[in-house]
């Protein structure tokens, strides 16, 4: 009755969040193409959050930081923190 896309994989597992991140990036592109700039930025932000969660949870972190990106970044492995920190400094 309901499609696989609708019913499968509602879990906190890392691969699911990774897929969610990729889906939101794709959606952000569609929104960008239709000149919905604000929404596109918002959905892109969700993609970043989902990806950070995917990485953090894969590294054994618990799922309790809500939408605090700094908190999620701290839960990511040092290599990710270094790269993001370096990028921020460069910019």
């Amino acid at each position: 009755m309901t499609s696989n896309r609708a019913t499968k994989s509602v879990s906190q597992k890392s691969p699911v969040l990774h897929v969610a991140s990729l889906e939101r990036i794709q959606e952000a592109q569609i929104l960008m193409d239709s000149n919905a700039w604000g929404l596109s930025m918002y959905v892109s932000g969700l993609a970043v959050e989902s990806l950070m969660q995917a990485i953090a949870i894969r590294s054994g972190a618990s799922h309790d930081a809500h939408h605090d990106l700094r908190a999620w970044l701290k839960k990511c492995p040092q290599s990710v923190t270094d790269v993001v920190g370096k990028q921020v400094k460069t910019e």
Partner: protein, 606 residues
Amino acid sequence: MDQYTTHEHDVLVIGAGGAGLRAAIEASAAGCKTAVITKSLLGKAHTVMAEGGIAAAMANVDDRDSWKVHFADTMRGGQYLNNWRMAELHAKEAPARVRELEAWGAVFDRTKDGRILQRNFGGHRYPRLAHVGDRTGLEMIRTLQDHGIHSGMEVFMEMTIIDLLKDGDRVVGAVGYDRERGRFRVWRANAVILATGGIGRAYSITSNSWEYTGDGHALAYRAGADLMDMEFVQFHPTGMVWPPSVKGILVTEGVRGEGGVLRNKDGKRFMFDDIPENYKSSTADNEEEGWRYTQGDKSARRPPELLTRDHVARCINREVKAGRGSPHGGVFLDIAWIKERIPNSVEHIKKKLPSMYHQFHQLAGLDITQEPMEVGPTTHYVMGGVKVEGDTQMSTAPGLFAAGEVAAGLHGANRLGGNSLSDLVVFGKRAGEYAAKFSKENSTGKVNKDQVEAAIRESLAPFERGLAAGGESPYAIQQDLQKTMQADVSIVRLENEMQRALGKIEEYKQRAERATAMGHREYNPGWHTAIDLRNLLMVSEAVTLAAIERKESRGAQFREDYPEKSDACSKFNIVLKQGGDGKMQLIRQPTRALPEELKVVVEENK
């Protein structure tokens, strides 16, 4: 069928703003197992946007104030369409609720002799708003959260309720899902309290955050409860107009209460040009008197900038349309000018209006102690909502209660600033108290599994439709709806424009049937928007139908084709309900006559 988790509670509160938290505290205190559900994170509520203060006739600053004057002010502001019993209870009980907040830890500003300080506000005859700088709502939410969290309530964050569950006519719970992961849940409860706030997101310019999509209104309507006064939507006169990313964000009325003035591009204080007849005797007719009023001179009358919100919003609208607006489509709100009157004005403004100072500094790069702000009307509040019984807050659907913005009645045709926060605590408490009583007096209802499964099936439908197969982006439909409501059912209304809006709403309903969600349920705002759409469409239709039916200008409704008040229209409220055919039905319900003793109160305080 998708699996779902079931929770059991005595009282279920949907919404965690001021009304929801206050209701939950009361229900918990009555010994009920209580759950609070919030669409967002705890603490992120529109309550915090109420910056100016909480209205309560404590007479700390002006001893002429009393519940009678507050009652009369509220009725006059509501153009006498208010549920007078609610207005009476509100005026009588607000002071006790404020003192209760203080006892729970709210740190209000103080008078020199240590009492709670009260400030002037539009439509209130005397200084009546207890406040915490310009962060009163924030302090209130903090206090209620701190107190509530120790009362044993269970909090479910980031949950959307998709339908109320019924056993016969009675509401016995709700079905929803968690927004992060998309898992479904059922809450069984003996009584359900709606405290979901407003409908601002039906418009494109609004002070409301993304959560305010009329969920409670639509849930109640679909569950068979009556809605009332939906034509009355308040446009706050002063929202930010620049830069575009912050358009609509509120600029507190407290700015005007502290002496801020409105000017057009020619520097003229245009509010002096249009003072309504019924406010002339209580409004200053010169700048000097207006200033003295803001500084506490009891012999002075209030400046016209502090007239009711609907009137100020229309005056600003008129200036902009006449080409006398500011560069970005608003007018100027100037508090910096008080340096001509106060030696330490910079520190004074920062102390009295700290949030406004930071808001403009950070979002617009503007120092309000030195330059005027640019402001314009923004959709802020809906007076209409779920029709409730005044004492108990129970709707026409047994077991379903409503409090705060989602409930109708207290404010009539227009709400006075400051009355929203007192509304939340007065009627939040009452809703909690009577929901707990209802829970104890009634056995547990039965949840219908078929109803749960149908609701889940419908909410998953957007995943079944592909964009390629004629599906539509829910964002596009929402934006089109917002533009239509903003253009055709806004501050100034005309029959033909509203009829056009109704036609478009019908089109949007059909498009919403094709709304598509991409991918999976996790972190999927497109899916959430597709679900929100049916609520937004329902409330938009209700506002438009009621606005067409009320062929007069009264309170927040201004009809250019019927610019005057009509005696005939003063005698009814418009009630909306779902008909047997599923279509929206509209009834003119006669208002209840004021009892003699309250008539005297109104007459004495005119």
